[in-house]
Amino acid sequence: MSVKTYREALHETLRGELIRDERVFLMGEEIGIFDGSYKITAGLLKEFGPKRVRDTPIAEEGFTGAAIGAAMLGLRPVVEIMTINFSLLALDQIVNHAAKIYGMFGGQMSVPMVIRTPGGGGQQLGASHSQNIELYYSFVPGLKVVAPSTPADAKALLLASIRDEDPVLFLENLALYNTKGEVPDADEPAQIGQAAVTRQGRDLTLIGYSRMALVAQEIAEQLAESEGLDIEVVDLRSLRPLDRQTIVESVKKTHAAVMLEDDWLTYGIGAEIAATISDGAFDYLDAPVRRVAMAEVPLPYSKPLETAALPSRDDVANAVHETLDAMARRR
């Protein structure tokens, strides 16, 4: 174990996989000479050369398609799309090709590729560069979507994604790159599709993924200290496949859930979670499932407006309080 940043965990895992498996190679804009827009790939071009670390033109559809072809023919491409916003340019390649080739060609070949891409608002990057649109991919059978919230999960899930036989969208977050945590030294891939109960509790289940899983953890600790509340936290870690069992088991215990998401409320990931709870734990619910999400606007550039539009810690605490009050459980 050693303490690393989320960025370091990603960097070291990529480097380790480049060493371990010569089929692994990286592709993306500015990842080589410029060391990557967020420095995840710093130094790798120098160490592994242009055959393993390829700078591409600003042409997401083109290089994503090239990676799909490479994967079909036996390589293990790890594509970096600078932010998830730009993945929209490659949407056809990802949705119509990467996700469907295995099924449409009768299982003759799979597409073992990873698309690494960060989401996240709050950096004053404007409406078109601040989105959380992992939902678009989580909706598509044939894709896997993972969203680690800690450096340890960043490593374990990236190992699992690179070694997986299917295309994986690996969601990072701009606000997480500098967060720190213990990371195991050994290479132990996570099991994709498994959520984690990161805090045990009995009063209520807080659910989140990526950045919001950390927010959930912080709020739970804070409310434990200030009000003695005993809140359970579920970090989804994987959006597709979704670990419905862990969510349902938790709500069966706590009888209430609040879902935190960094995307828009309507049709969002939280809606799927609420439906999952309704399907699996209906008879255990003592309060409606609440969702805390972003304001339904294109994210403003202005700092005060941007802050107001994103879900705040107060929003989360209010939703928790209101849910507990609805069950007459806070006195």
Binding site: E227, G280, A287, E296, M327, A328
Partner: protein
């Protein structure tokens, strides 16, 4: 057929009594017409029909007390008979509350089309977070369904609990697990659902016996609320008391003169109390920190109220009530007198609305007219202080070297020591005393 339930007419209401039915079965009623008069813990109010129809059945007779949410009548609106009341088994095929190995959410498509007779709400342009709380039962006269969470329904099914008899403490009267736990016996009985904090040490019941020839007199709703609130206040608020005495000679002279002129002008007289309400309001304006509320041990702030709304304790024919005069510092003594007079009349008729009995920031209790020299009062939470006023009577008073007979008045401020200190209370009384001793400043 529409089932009408006992509505929640005030925040603290838990049950209500039918005091009068305005319609009898078979009579026609239009939406908006008064249907029934309901006595709550605070007031007697008319309850209007939400829908038009014929009153089919009265389920709760006059004089009977029932919890909110209890069906009290049926209104025939010409629609088909309603489904059996909740609490009856919800079909034999209760869903198995587990998940299969691979949890498979049921995918139901094509269900639209059957339940679309009612015009759908127009879709909002910007999506809003849907309300997690149901509207209050009073607002949905048409639904006989009991509000209960799925968990409560499951528990009720398994334990044969009739949810009709369970009081819901969730939003809109929704029954939550907390409410049925007591019935299961597995957990300690739930505290009575009151908006006040649960009492630390509930009074032990005192049985009636022959030796003392005791008789049980029913406590009115009003009395029960008073008992609970004053009990909580006396237990939880660290009261302290500061008494002062004023030379009221000028005060009484002013009042006499004032009233002579008012009578001559054909206007109503003002009372000692009217003058004192204004005097207290002016003193509060000078000491705003007395016009304040403690917000609980967890709060990091206290509330200071910028409006001065004075509650006046009234021993009405139906028990103690404290109607509130808003902005007492901005009204003339005559205005205050007229308003107090009207509120007392309403109190005697039990027509005070919850609105008129809430929102106070300070209370005055005057027992002077009953000959009490001085007394202490219990704070009316969430206010920070209460003023108890004794009688104004002539006493021997040393003025210089002479003993003269002057009117004197004693009053005691009870204050919440968590936010008000002795010196502040004393300064408040100093201001009040100088107003009373120089009474032109009260009406100025």
């Amino acid at each position: 057929m529409i089932q009408i339930t006992m509505p929640r007419l005030s925040d603290t209401m838990e049950e209500g009594a039918i005091s009068q039915w305005y319609k009898q079965p078979g009579e026609r009623i239009e939406a908006g017409e008064p249907l029934v008069e309901i006595e709550t813990d605070k007031a007697t109010m008319d309850y209007e029909a939400y829908d038009s129809g014929t009153l089919a059945k009265i389920l709760v007779p006059e004089g009977e007390l029932v919890p909110i949410g209890t069906p009290i009548a049926e209104l025939d609106d010409g629609a088909a008979p309603q489904e059996p009341p909740a609490g009856a088994p919800e079909g034999a095929a209760a869903p198995e509350p587990g998940l299969p190995e691979v949890p498979a959410p049921s995918t139901s498509t094509g269900t639209a089309g059957t339940a679309t007779e009612a015009a759908p709400e127009p879709a909002p342009i910007a999506a809003e977070i849907p309300a997690a709380q149901p509207s209050s039962p009073a607002a949905q006269t048409g639904t006989p369904r009991i509000l209960a969470t799925p968990l409560v329904r499951a528990i009720a099914r398994e334990n044969d609990i009739d949810l009709n008899r369970v009081h819901g403490s969730g939003p809109g009267g929704r029954i939550v697990k907390h409410d049925v736990e007591a019935l299961l016996g597995a957990t300690p009985p739930a505290q009575p659902n009151s908006p006040e904090p649960a009492p630390a040490a509930p009074s032990a019941p005192v049985p009636a016996d022959d030796r003392r020839a005791s008789e049980e007199l029913p406590l009115s709703n009003v009395r029960r609320v008073i008992a609970r609130r004053l009990g909580a206040s006396a237990r939880e608020i660290p009261h302290f008391f500061v008494t002062a005495v004023a030379d009221a000679e000028e005060f009484m002279r002013l009042r006499t003169e004032l009233n002579e002129r008012l009578v001559a002008a054909g206007r109503p007289k003002v009372s000692v109390n009217d003058l004192l309400i204004r005097a207290a309001a002016l003193a509060l304006r000078e000491h705003p920190l007395v016009n304040a509320s403690y917000q609980g041990d967890d709060a990091t702030t206290m509330l200071v109220h910028h409006r001065i709304n004075i509650g006046v304790a009234v021993a009405s024919e139906n028990g103690l009530v404290v109607p509130v005069i808003d902005d007492a510092d901005r009204k003339t003594v005559t205005q205050l007198g007229a308003e107090a007079h009207a509120l007392v009349a309403l109190a005697n008729d039990r027509k005070l609305t919850p609105e008129q009995m809430s929102g106070g920031t300070f209370t005055i209790s005057n027992l002077g007219m009953l000959g009490v020299e001085e007394f202490t009062a219990i704070i009316n939470p969430p206010e920070g202080a209460i003023l108890a006023i004794g009688a104004t009577r002539r006493e021997a008073l040393a003025v210089g070297e002479e003993i003269v007979a002057h009117y004197r008045m004693r009053y005691t401020l009870s204050a919440d020591h968590r936010i008000i200190d002795g010196a502040l209370a004393a300064r408040f009384l100093q201001t009040l005393t100088s107003l009373i001793e120089d009474p032109w400043t009260i009406i100025a």
